[in-house]
């Protein structure tokens, strides 16, 4: 009886008006993506856990609902589209089909540890370009994502960075990896005092400047293992320069807590006025290889209810 008048935390029914509005936004997104020559794929709502086990860290695993099916296999409800798209497409990828432009839509279900009633069921539309590792693809995908929002009358604020910078710094100090990662994430380099002797001096200088929020692209370029990322970010900066339908901010000290499978550029798109995050994406060039067919990939995902909220 206690459950008669409520739904589980974080899920809800959309009634007639809300459904109509959701469908209108969805159709508009789909139209924009189809006009940009993306084609749709449909993915299952549950999948086995095992194929993703090396990709998903403990925290991400805790975000998905898991259960044992009738055959005794551990399965999970979809909580992230990107690895599922790679698993579905990798075995069928042919060189002559690349670059491939696909999009997907549907719900992801997440177990949020928050005390707030944040949605556990999130409707997303996402797109990705597979088989193009060029910096032009980075720029095209960011601009496409930004232009989708601009089409809704929302001025996008695109904040971007390259996850390989933090990854190279963490890898530069295997004995102090945990401390380096913690300093970059918390924005506090004082925690490195006890391990500074085990970190290369140039890496330590860059970590300290990133944690202090004062690092420049010249700093990143001056450290060998991150020089290529700096060069690529300069090209991306040049690629988005002069685009006035959106604001672009390179944020070098925006280090990702859950970079997961991302290997290069990582971006988030906010509503310029509401400062609400509406989309996120990035490059994951190693993901398809994990499912048998190496292929570069970059993509983004919109959370449609957040777009609706800002658009209202």
């Amino acid at each position: 009886m206690a459950t008669k008048f409520r739904y589980p935390t974080g899920v809800r029914a959309l009634l007639v008006e809300e459904t109509a509005r959701r469908r209108r936004i969805e159709s508009r997104f789909v139209g924009l993506l189809e006009r940009a020559r993306f084609r749709e794929v449909l993915l299952p709502i549950i999948d086995y856990v095992e194929p993703y086990s090396t990709l998903v860290d403990r925290d991400a695993a805790r975000q998905s609902y898991r259960f044992v099916d009738r055959e005794g296999e551990l399965v999970a409800i979809r909580s992230d589209f990107t690895p599922m798209v790679a698993r579905a497409l990798a075995p069928a990828l042919r060189k002559e089909d690349l670059p491939l432009r696909i999009f997907y839509r549907g719900d992801v279900i997440r177990v949020e540890a928050t005390r707030l009633g944040i949605n556990r069921e999130i409707f997303q539309i996402g797109a990705e370009v597979i088989g193009d590792d060029s910096v032009e693809a980075d720029v095209d995908v960011i601009l496409l994502a930004a232009s989708c929002l601009a089409d809704f009358g929302i001025r996008p604020l695109v904040v971007y960075n390259d996850t390989s910078i933090a990854a190279a710094l963490v890898a530069s100090a295997p004995e102090a990896a945990h401390a380096v990662r913690a300093a970059l994430l918390s924005k506090r380099s004082s925690d490195l005092e006890s391990v500074r002797d085990s970190i290369d001096a140039r890496a330590l200088a860059l970590i300290t400047r990133l944690a202090a929020g004062v690092a420049t692209l010249d700093d990143v370029a001056a450290y060998g293992p991150t020089a290529a990322a700096a060069e690529r970010l300069r090209k991306i900066e040049a690629g988005v320069r002069g685009i006035d339908s959106a604001e672009f901010v390179l944020h070098l000290d925006d280090i990702d807590a859950a970079a997961a499978y991302y290997t290069g550029i990582r971006f988030r798109i906010y509503s310029h006025d509401a400062r609400t995050r509406l989309a996120q994406g990035g490059r994951y060039d190693a993901l398809y290889g994990r499912f048998g067919t190496p292929a570069a990939a970059i993509g983004f995902t919109f959370t449609i209810d957040d777009v609706d909220e800002v658009n209202r």
Partner: protein, 223 residues
């Protein structure tokens, strides 16, 4: 431009924290303001909100406040993914594993029960050391659980150690070194970078936080 919204913890640290912001040049609520039952004050460029210490990370993480001051105990217990750019140089204490009089050390085969206000931190502590114990979440006066034999141990903050001594309890291990931190939400850090950088550097100077390690103030290319 909207005022920056800063969440501060009511109680023990409130006066010292306000003093840091005042010295940083921010207009803070007056003593008379704080005697009222109001919890929100707009003063100059800041909207100050006063909440329970355990709620500060929640407000900041979810963007209801842009920044705040919270103890590391609360940040860890909420597994909060806020940025923690500054450790403030006061209010430091330790989170300790404390045994009831005569209680054995953990891990010697006995079944321990631990009372705590911090079940997540306690679980991490036990898991990291492969120790087994049953956790009993309590809301306050946690030491009493060991004094009255409700549990064999407690995990709680210790400032002076006086309560532990008075009740003849035994401090057995340090779970974590705790200090208050200036915390900043991820979204505001990404989207309002200049104001947040200014906040951090003003608080850093006024709190007398030791300067960052080598390299923070000079470009690497010149280093």
């Amino acid at each position: 431009m909207n005022p920056l919204r800063i969440a501060l913890p009511k109680g023990r640290l409130q006066e010292k924290v306000l003093d840091v912001f005042a010295k940083a040049g921010y207009e803070i609520p007056t003593e008379d303001d704080l005697k009222t039952r109001k919890l929100v004050f707009i003063r100059g460029e800041v909207e100050w909100i006063f909440v329970k210490d355990c709620d500060v990370p929640v407000y900041v993480e979810h963007g209801a406040a842009d920044a705040g001051v919270a103890g590391l105990d609360q940040i860890l217990e909420h597994e909060s993914n806020v940025y923690q750019p500054l450790e403030l140089p006061f209010g430091k204490c330790r989170m300790m594993l404390i045994g009831a009089p005569g209680a054995p050390r953990l891990g010697n085969g006995t079944t321990a029960t631990i009372a705590t206000k911090y079940p997540r931190i306690a679980r991490h502590y036990l898991d990291a050391r492969a120790l087994r114990a049953e956790l009993i979440p309590l809301g306050g006066s946690v030491e009493l659980a060991a004094v009255l034999n409700l549990t064999s141990h407690v995990i709680d903050l210790v400032e002076t150690g006086e309560t532990v001594r008075v009740h003849k309890l035994e401090m057995q291990d340090v779970v974590a070194e705790i200090s208050p931190r200036l915390i900043v939400g991820r979204t505001v850090y990404r989207t309002d970078r200049e104001r947040i950088r200014e906040l951090i550097s003003r608080v850093e100077r006024s709190a007398g936080v030791p300067p960052a390690s080598d390299g923070a103030s000079r470009p690497i290319a010149e280093g």
